[in-house]
Symmetry: C2
Subunit: 349 residues, 2 copies
């Protein structure tokens, strides 16, 4: 039987335990030092404080001190920690692995990481860390994309997930995770899936900004504008993916269009955008959400995406007018209304 | 100055008069025999009964008896009538045109038409009718696609519209219609735009069915499922477009993904689907809406789309499992829950 560790006991790490447990897979759920308040009630059998329901009884729970036992005899490792902690924890985790065994990594973390002074995709950093620790060894990794909200998944609502896979072996492993309600699709386009996951959080803020500008005064009368921005976001994500060596089609599939759909309608990044659309400054809105225990992933992703693009793909920024508008609004105190008006005038005739 | 006739005084025919009037274009708005109750209050200066606001004062209004004067000295003709009346009215209109003049047609009608015993795209039927009446004459037509809800447009909310154009001359004419809030994009892919417009109404019903199944019991917890279906709809629309000689990319742009977004979130087709998802039979739900003065375009489009596909593209139906599920639910009394469960199991691993 497969034995699995899930690193990170937040929304997504905890939610993925449902299809795993339903498949009879043994799961060790490990919380980081920021997750103590989540692991404690779970150990007592209480509901998960974010998902608002108990996990399956078969899940083994571990506090951050117990990373080593959480990884014992494990072949499959899900990494579901915030992008900021990714490099640190991936490195620590590698220290507990056995060079004689094969491992399969499933990365749920979204967004960019900072690694050795550079901004890069989490999978790129992971690849480098793994190769240094285990030179010459095959690195089996899947970058797991949406459209999957943790809340819905933990309610066993039918969900589809796009896995960007490094090889056929990890594809075979991932077949063990699917259930009637958790459907898995695969592609070889890891950069595509990974960039979609990061950028959909960024562009979901645009839908939120639009809500902030219009809600209340034009209720029900700005769907055209939301659809306009949604479509522009899809186009821009496909440009980013293509520039980074991925396939445009990935952006027009589940990991892109599908995940952008769910993220733009529901969730933290949309809500963050709404605060900004209503007039709050970018940093203040991030801090406000943080103080309420919610992490604005899109804000952080945008903060890293712009220098990443400037470094790695400097010519493409001109093709991303919505991204530039968001950057101006969120990091340069530009008025959202003026930015959006300017953007719209630039597009079409 | 451009002189324009708009045929059909319903939602979209009336809404398009806003950007036209704002551009100083003279507009004759003509209502069909079903539109008397719309034209009458407009003539009195009262709000449009559907759009809930008055039109611009410069709009000239015509009852159905006055098609000839409505077309006098006109170069540009917008056709915004329900698909069922399209062939009849297009034929009548041609009878009033002058063979020595050039005309530019902008087709806002969505869905399929029945013409000479065959089901076809409205533009195909129009092309044939025009060629018979004016053999050898250039046919300048644009198939106008979304994502544009009439209510939003008439409120001057920023909107983008994709025009599938037959030639550069009609592109030049359409440049006259754009405003700060009405942005026009063009493509040469007429079949693509036209099929997107028809099929997005069909697939928007799927989002509605999902609402009908879950709303109330799983409020806020079925976004994944909606996104899953949304993505499947985009994929299937792109297959249809490609089979019919259009470009897949059209389905992943404004006319496809963008329009499907606005139609799935708001409007009659989503609402129709919700009634069906709650257990009402397909035909009964259509009749109920009709009795309330609303026309279920998606229902009619699906009714014609299936025989059209069987006739013209018989091999593709197998690639459209969501379309088949909708057809089973709406026309063959199959339970929505069973159909969706079956569909989901078929997709992914």
């Amino acid at each position: 039987m497969l034995k699995t560790a899930v690193l990170g006991a937040g929304y997504m790490g905890s939610a993925i335990t449902f299809p795993l447990a339903d498949n009879g897979i043994e799961v060790n759920l490990w919380g980081t030092w920021l997750d103590d308040s989540l692991v404690e009630p779970l150990i007592k059998g209480c509901p998960h404080p974010k998902l608002k329901q108990p996990l399956e009884k078969t899940i083994n729970l571990y506090y951050w001190q117990d990373l080593q036992p959480a990884l014992e005899d494990v072949q499959v490792i899900f990494i579901a920690i915030a992008s900021e902690g990714f490099v640190n924890i991936f490195e620590k985790m590698l220290g507990h692995l056995d060079s004689k065994k094969d491992y399969y990594f499933f990365k749920l973390t979204k967004g960019f990481v900072e690694y050795e002074g550079k901004i890069m995709r989490a999978t790129e950093a992971a690849f480098d860390m793994f190769a240094r620790k285990f030179p010459g060894k095959d690195f089996n990794i899947a970058s797991v994309g949406g459209p999957v909200r943790a809340m819905d998944l933990s309610n066993r609502t039918p969900s589809a997930s796009m896995y960007g896979i490094s090889n056929e072996r990890i594809k075979a492993i991932s077949e063990n995770f699917s259930t009637d309600y958790y459907r898995i699709f695969t592609t070889n386009d890891i950069p595509g899936v990974e960039l979609c996951s990061a950028f959909k959080n960024i562009y979901a803020m645009a839908a939120g900004v639009c809500d902030g500008l219009y809600k209340g005064q034009k209720e029900g009368l700005y769907h055209n504008m939301v659809a306009f921005l949604f479509n522009q976001a899809c186009t821009e994500i496909s440009q980013v993916v293509f520039s980074a060596g991925g396939e445009k089609q990935t952006a027009f599939g589940l990991a892109g269009v599908g995940d952008l759909h769910v993220t733009s309608v529901a969730g933290r990044n949309r809500r963050y955008g709404e605060m900004v659309g209503k007039g709050m400054e970018g940093e203040a809105a991030f801090k406000k959400m943080y103080s309420e225990g919610e992490y604005g992933e899109g804000y952080i992703a945008l903060k890293l995406a712009v220098p990443w693009l400037e470094q790695a793909h400097p010519c493409i920024l001109e093709k991303l007018p919505l991204l530039k508008a968001l950057n101006n609004i969120i990091f340069h105190k530009s008025g959202p209304w003026a930015e959006f008006k300017e953007l719209i005038k630039k597009l079409g005739f």
